[in-house]
Amino acid sequence: MSELKLSMKDFKSDQEVRWCPGCGDYAILAAVQSFMPELGIARENIVFISGIGCAARFPYYMQTYGMHSIHGRAPAIATGLAVSRPDLSVWVVTGDGDALSIGGNHLIHALRRNVNVKILLFNNRIYGLTKGQYSPTSGQGKVTGSTPVGSVDYPFNPLALALGAGATFVARALDVDKPGLTDVLRRAAAHRGAALVEVFQNCNIYNDGEFDYIREQKDARTYLEQGQPFAATGIVHDEADFATAFALAQLTWEKDGVLPLGVFRDVDRASYDQLVQTQLDDAAAGGDLQALVSSGDTWSIG
């Protein structure tokens, strides 16, 4: 490959960005666009696929290949692309409703298969594009348009769900924390296989202030470090140990007064496309179609 010299502006498309002023998505977009040149991958070999929701407009703003698909299905579409085109860098951008509600099934199966896609889950704990109904990550008691006296649902913990689904890479970042987010993106991109990155994202219109405890107080942002005890929890972090990652994923600001950011789990496992390719390679290539249609019991007439 010839040496690529791309900059942040090379990843900006000519489309006007149309999120609400003050939306956390702007910060994430800027972080992704400024990190992309680091990858050293030509723009034509990068694909962003999304479903439906505010986050799902993301591909329109990236000067790469992109598809804004239908609600919840981005992991499925990305699976077909990633397994048939292992040469591409495939990214999924999704939200808490898209990934965890309507598309929950596709998410867990993409993770368990270890499809080589990087999934950025923008979690604002609200349905934004439909004007503020509660989401599967909204806290119990959340008062919204569809829950006037409070939601009775118990919320999902996206990281615990991903770990339970067998994800080989699980991380969390914060929209406005550019260095932390970039670190996580870097690690996710380097991971061969499925990577789930939860990004806490503030919806300033329908759920403003949800993450203020770390958005507003920079010193409250606490990062996971491999081999080091996490805060005062006494849990020594080990990205390769499932139980450790799972325990860390249970920590909440409300309950524990500290919330981990960074990489929870990162383990090597053959990716889905690699396993599929191995089976293709094992089959003697160059199938003979004439031989196939002529196989079995045959007879001649005339």
Binding site: R43, V47, R73, N105, A285, D297, T298
Partner: protein, 608 residues
């Protein structure tokens, strides 16, 4: 001493037994022997959705009907001439179809009080004279089989009993003078890992054959001479196998890798299983977590430049609708195969119906045109699959290919195609550009947009489900643009080049029978019967349901009356009446069974 041989032009045999009795295997083997003897043939396996319904019960009866002849035939036969019934339930559910005077071969061992009760018999039909109108061959199949196998080492009495279907196969093989070599080698191969089971089945097969030769229960042997079919090399094929191979052929003809996304569903699963074998052709099969993921992954693969395919049946097709709509607006190639089965909802999963036509034409939100074609016979599924892929790739559109449970599992002799004679499918991806790429600028002839796959330098672009501005593909809410794009999508599908409609015309006919899809065989057979009776009738069979052939209106208007037989409540009928303002009438049945030639002939006679 050899028994006398009686010549027959054609025979219809039905094997019926418990779903665990191996009737499909028995029928399949007898079909192979019949094919190798050069008869024309058609088969119809008819089985319950339950894998093993309670033994001896009426719902658990599994049947396999085979029609073979010394001439060109089109259907598995309206009613059997010979019924092989392995138990009272099989007799009870199938006897009504057997013609009076027909042959009845029964396993007398299965007619126990318990089994008679399960089948709802008050008295034993073997003893109460109720079978007097048939040629009854009462054979203790089970005890003869068990007796013959008692010396075979390592075989339990239960395993011996299970070989009774091979005894029946041997007996039928003798009765119709079949070669036994192909079944012998089949058994040896199938049970290669358990030589004692192979030995038991072989012995049962041979014992059945010799029983026919020596038993006084059978006084004549029958012969059906080879049929005169077009010259060439033949094999038998089911619709789903032909369809799978057609997809592989389309991959080869287009030079694109085949990607199949599928979720197991009756009666389409065997396409997934067949294609999963063909990794040597670069075929990737993806058993998805659900029907939606199956079509989504196929569309994702298409976006990347593969030949994306998804296969399903009605209940799965409904789930795929939203993604098919996305494919319509993305204008990417995609083949969606609907192996139709009786509905609504879960319906009757193993039974054929043609009731998804309006679903695939209209079952999406918004103005969302999709080309639709249908296969007509099991062997035709091969060519229909190539045609579906050709249109999808040429016009950058999702295409629905309709088959049904009757075609999927039915078999017929298939003239093996010469692959080198198949027309290549021309596919051109958009080439590297300078950045001023217009993803929705259309080819003036086909109206197809460029297929610019990731990895192509300078053509980075974004597409999506939101309405797009003409040419640039950017998101657009402009009212006039939406109207224009809606028209362009419709014009593209309407302008697909499909062959002119051919008519099997008869001089002087003023009635046209218009059929489509899997009913070709019975409808053409019915038409031939009417003609044989001295009446005049024309027949046109549609392959393309959307768009219709350009001359279809003229064809319809050139007859005084048009009869549209369908295994639904009149779906094509509604379309042609609305589109061409012709006063066509329908013949409509939804019994879960294919048409019989006889009822089609009656329906034609009624409008003549």
């Amino acid at each position: 001493m050899a028994k006398p041989v009686e010549q027959l032009e054609s025979v219809v045999i039905r094997f019926a037994g418990d779903s665990g009795d191996g009737m499909q295997l028995t029928g399949g083997r007898f079909t192979s022997e019949t094919a190798l003897s050069g008869n024309d043939l058609a088969t119809f396996p008819d089985f319950p959705a339950e894998i093993r319904a309670p033994a001896g019960s009426l719902p658990g009866v599994s049947g396999f009907q085979l029609h073979f002849a010394d001439h060109d035939i089109l259907t598995p036969g309206d009613r059997p001439d010979v019924l092989v019934a392995m138990n009272p339930a099989a007799l009870k559910t199938n006897l009504r179809d057997l013609a009076k005077g027909g042959s009845l071969i029964l396993d007398t061992d299965a007619f126990s009080d318990r089994n008679l009760k399960k089948a709802g018999y008050e008295s034993n039909p073997l003893e109460d004279g109720s079978l007097a109108d048939y040629q009854l061959h009462a054979v203790p199949l089970t005890s003869l089989t068990v007796g013959a196998l008692k010396d075979v080492d390592g075989v339990t009495p239960r395993e011996a009993e299970r070989a009774k279907n091979m005894f029946a196969l041997g007996l039928m093989s003798w009765l119709y003078g079949r070669e036994t070599e192909s079944t012998t080698s089949f058994i040896e191969k199938k049970f290669a890992k358990r030589p004692e089971i192979a030995a038991a089945n072989l012995k049962a097969f041979n014992t059945g054959y010799h029983f026919g030769e020596t038993s006084e229960a059978f006084v004549v042997q029958y012969e059906v001479k080879p049929a005169t079919l077009p010259p060439g090399r033949y094999r038998q094929i089911t619709g789903n196998t032909a369809l799978s191979w057609g997809l592989v052929a389309a991959s080869k003809l287009s030079g694109l890798d085949l990607f199949l996304g599928a979720y197991p569903i009756t009666p389409a699963s065997s396409i997934l299983e067949e294609l999963a074998k063909h990794k040597a052709f670069g075929v990737r099969t993806f058993q998805a977590e659900d029907e939606i993921a199956a079509v989504g992954a196929a569309l994702g693969a298409s976006f990347g430049g593969a030949l994306g395919i998804t296969t399903s049946a009605g209940p799965g097709i409904v789930l795929k609708s939203e993604t098919v709509g996305l494919a319509v607006t993305l204008e990417l190639p995609l083949v969606i195969v609907d192996v139709q089965r009786a509905g609504p909802s879960t319906g009757m999963p193993t039974k054929p119906e043609q009731a998804d036509l309006l679903l695939v034409l209209h079952g999406r939100n918004g103005e969302s045109p999709v080309p639709v074609l249908a296969a007509s016979t099991p062997g035709d599924c091969f060519y229909a699959a190539i045609e579906a892929a050709r249109v999808a790739l040429t016009y950058r559109t999702p295409v629905y290919l309709l088959s049904d449970a009757y075609l999927a599992n039915g078999t017929e002799p298939w003239l093996i195609p010469r692959i080198a004679d198949l027309e290549p499918i021309q596919v051109e991806f958009a080439r590297d550009g300078d950045g001023a790429f217009l993803p929705y600028r259309r080819d003036p002839e086909t109206l197809a947009r460029p297929w610019a796959i990731p990895g192509t330098h300078g053509l980075e672009h974004r597409i999506g489900g939101l309405e797009k501005a003409n040419e640039t593909g950017n998101v657009s809410y402009d009212p006039e643009n939406h109207d224009l794009m809606t028209q362009l999508r419709a014009q593209k599908v309407a302008g697909i080049s499909v062959p002119a409609q051919l008519v099997d015309h008869q001089e002087g006919a003023d009635v046209l029978v218009l059929s489509w899809g899997g009913t070709y065989g019975p409808v053409q057979a019915g038409v031939r019967r009417v003609r044989k009776a001295g009446r005049k009738v024309a027949h046109a069979h549609l392959r393309w349901l959307s768009p219709f052939p350009a001359n279809l209106g003229d064809v319809l208007r050139s007859y005084d009356r048009v009869l549209v037989p369908e295994l639904n409540s009149g779906q094509l009928l509604q379309l042609v009446r609305a589109r061409y303002l012709v006063d066509a009438v329908g013949y409509n049945r939804v019994t879960g069974k294919p048409f019989r030639a006889g009822e089609i002939a009656d329906a034609v006679e009624a409008v003549l």
